[in-house]
């Protein structure tokens, strides 16, 4: 006899209640951990942003002074523009490089799919600092790029403008985010059956039309997610700007890090962090709204 095939109605109701409680019980530890280790510190950090700065200390009462300092500072405004420009560039370039790679992996890689995915994943194992400093040896005046160009006679003097500026920061950040975005987009392509592309081809769509009318609408939501992921996280990185940014490639993340550590101005660091968070929330809302208006968020695909 199959267990439970002839259970009494009361007992069945008890199982039902247990099933109802199951998800809550299962997520309770994670919820508590999030509340304790994420929401609570974030709330405390939020309160800090309204306090007055001492030297590695804060005092009351609540004030908007830190926010006022954050938005009225010329330096912060410059860094915000820097961060926006670099964030957009990094996100756009990363997406542009990742899309064809992910597409190829999904539909054309064949037996290369697993090895290439493995290689992409292994790049994440390299030290973050090594990956950043490696660009110095590539872009430096005596680096691989300049040496190579000199050797083949394309330049007579090293190109000094490719390191220690926004360009080198952008290059390093693209390098850092590329594996993540490829994986996100590959996951986005997974549910899109090759049959859809074949059907479009059968109906007379050329390669460009297939991309524009079939692939892009289907991948729009994952691509937008990947774009936001990179755009939001880029300005927060403070090591690449410090190591490769020179004196004009500094981003807001450096300012926040400095405020929270060497300067010891915790309210300013907190205020800048929450202003960035608010700006990104607005970007997220605009993107979500755009996808909805274009009806790209409701596309469902089935194999």
């Amino acid at each position: 006899m199959i267990a439970g095939a002839h259970e009494e109605p009361g007992r069945s109701a008890s199982w039902g209640r247990q099933l109802q409680l199951g998800p809550i019980a299962l997520t309770l530890p994670a919820t508590l951990a999030l509340l304790l280790f994420f929401v609570a510190p974030l709330a405390a950090f939020f309160v800090y942003s309204f306090l007055t700065a001492g030297f590695y200390s804060v005092t009351g009462p609540l004030t908007l002074e830190a926010y006022q300092d954050a938005v009225t500072s010329d330096v912060n405004r410059t860094l915000a523009v820097n961060s926006f420009v670099v964030g957009i560039c990094v996100a756009a370039v990363t997406l542009a490089i990742s899309l064809p790679i992910a597409y190829w992996l999904r539909y054309a890689a064949g037996g290369w799919q697993i090895p290439v995915l493995f290689l992409i994943t292994t790049t994440l194992f390299a030290s973050y600092l090594v990956r950043i400093y490696a660009w110095r040896t590539i872009l430096g005046e005596n680096g691989l790029l300049n040496s190579g160009l000199e050797r083949i006679g394309l330049i007579n003097e090293p190109l000094g403008f490719i390191l220690f500026n926004r360009f080198s920061v952008t290059v390093a950040l693209v390098h850092i985010f590329l594996p993540y975005v490829v994986l996100v987009l590959y996951a986005g392509f997974r549910p899109i059956s090759p049959a859809l592309l074949e059907a479009a081809q059968d109906l007379g769509a050329n390669a460009l039309l297939r991309w524009v009318r079939v692939v892009l609408p289907l991948i729009a939501a994952p691509a937008a997610t990947a774009f936001l992921f990179v755009f939001i996280l880029s300005p927060g990185h403070y090591v690449p700007p410090q190591s490769l940014g020179g004196t004009n490639g500094v981003l807001l993340g450096v300012r926040i890090q400095t405020a929270l550590t060497s300067v010891g101005n915790w309210p300013l660091g907190a205020a800048l962090s929450f202003l960035m968070l608010a700006a990104f929330a607005v970007c997220f809302a605009i993107t979500a709204l755009g996808l909805r208006l274009l009806k790209l968020d409701r596309i469902r695909f089935a194999n």
Partner: protein, 397 residues
């Protein structure tokens, strides 16, 4: 062809060393460079000198020392034999910057025994009650210090009332560093770095106190009584150096890396240890001197933390570090100066050449110890002002 291959290999190794040196923290660099020097230079002396001296008069050492300072300042290899002999263990917490110390000692939630302070921070940290008075009778090797370090200069280690607050164990001078291969003979003045031909060819570290102290010295002002007008001049001067620089390096190791790779040819806030770091990366032509405007010196002192529950062992440790052999090994390891008279002849040639010990007072006249601005003041520019302004300057203001 063989020569070319060997050259390529040497070039590859030098490049690898440059990457290596660039990604290390200053203290890690000190540790690594020190290990090499220690191996070839001072190890025999250290092994020979792991006991004796006036250590019998020091208190009995035992238990665990909870340590809070830069990595390397706990001198793990240099004091290994002493630790083993006395059964002392270290529980070390490493900091990234000086500013990490006050919050950890005040609200860190942990009881630290041994920490350190730089001379410049003494006045600012004193009101915070971070240290305990040191009983000099329990550190008899204080008698072995150079007279300069035994004195109460700037009240850096001894308060006006005679209370000892710290024991200096290493020091160094900061001035101008350059690559002698690119600039034979070097530069005489910091202002030479502002020559248009050096645009994007100089560097400076992300070290606000160091850069500000030098700029203040260049203009002939006093760091502790800086008025707003004077401060504007100082800031404007410093801004010129930042704008002239290729980049603001995260640390001194990074400055060495840039010199080694040829990205820059000179550095503001140069430090003699950079010579060693660059040599380790394959560039042995980097030199440091004190320019005509003068430089400054730092001296770091151990303190017994106010949260200490094992003070006697801390004092025994400090006493041991003042043994000439240990002090010399520490200087080699930290690429710094010694504070104990008898240790000079035990230094490796490379470390001994960093500073002149024949007339140590004269060296400190050209590059004096400094005090930081007041931490709070309605009248003068404060240390917080320096930090705020530096954060803006390096961000491009």
């Amino acid at each position: 062809m063989a020569d070319t291959s060997a050259e390529k290999e040497r070039s590859r190794q030098a490049e690898a060393a440059r990457i290596d040196i660039a990604i290390l923290s200053r203290r890690e660099l000190l540790r690594r460079s020190g290990i090499g020097l220690l191996t070839i230079g001072v190890a025999p002396a250290l092994l020979a000198g792991c006991g004796g001296g006036d250590e019998a008069a020091a208190p009995k050492a035992t238990g665990t020392i909870d340590f809070l300072s830069f990595e390397g300042y706990d001198l793990p290899d240099q004091t290994a034999a002493w630790r083993k002999e006395n059964g002392v263990e270290f529980n070390s917490t490493y900091i990234v910057a000086n500013e990490d110390i006050p919050p950890k000692l005040k609200v860190g939630g942990a009881a630290y025994d041994l920490s350190y302070y730089g001379v410049g921070f003494k006045d600012g940290w004193a009101p915070l009650g971070l240290w305990l008075p040191i009983d000099e009778a329990k550190v008899p090797n204080i008698e072995k210090l150079f007279p300069f370090f035994k004195s109460d200069v700037l009240n850096a280690w001894v308060d006006p009332d005679g209370t000892r607050t710290g024991v200096p164990f290493t020091w160094g001078s900061v001035g101008l560093t350059w690559d002698d291969a690119a600039l034979p003979g070097g530069l005489e003045s910091f202002y030479d770095l502002l020559d248009p031909k050096f645009k994007d060819k100089i560097g400076l570290p992300d070290d606000a106190p160091s850069n500000f102290v030098l700029a203040v010295r260049m203009l002939g002002y006093d760091t502790t009584t800086l008025t707003q007008d004077q401060y504007k001049e100082v800031t404007d001067l410093l801004r010129q150096f930042v704008k002239q620089a290729k980049t603001v390096s995260p640390g001194y190791g990074d400055v060495a890396s840039l010199l080694a790779s040829g990205e820059i040819v000179a550095a503001f806030s140069g430090w003699a240890a950079i010579n060693s770091f660059a040599a380790g990366a394959g560039k042995d032509t980097v030199k440091t001197s004190i320019p005509k405007e003068g430089g400054y010196s730092f001296a770091d002192a151990y303190m017994v933390a106010s949260t200490a529950d094992n003070a006697d062992t801390v004092l025994a440790f400090i006493n041991h570090v003042l043994e000439p052999e240990v002090n010399a090994a520490a200087a080699d390891f930290l690429v710094g100066g010694v504070t104990v008279e008898g240790s000079v002849e035990l230094l490796s040639p490379a470390t001994a050449s960093l500073y002149s010990y024949e007339n140590i007072e004269a060296s400190f006249e050209r590059a004096p110890l400094f005090k930081l601005p007041p931490f709070e003041s309605d009248q003068y520019v404060t240390y917080q002002d320096w930090l705020d302004t530096w954060a803006e300057l390096k961000a491009g203001a």
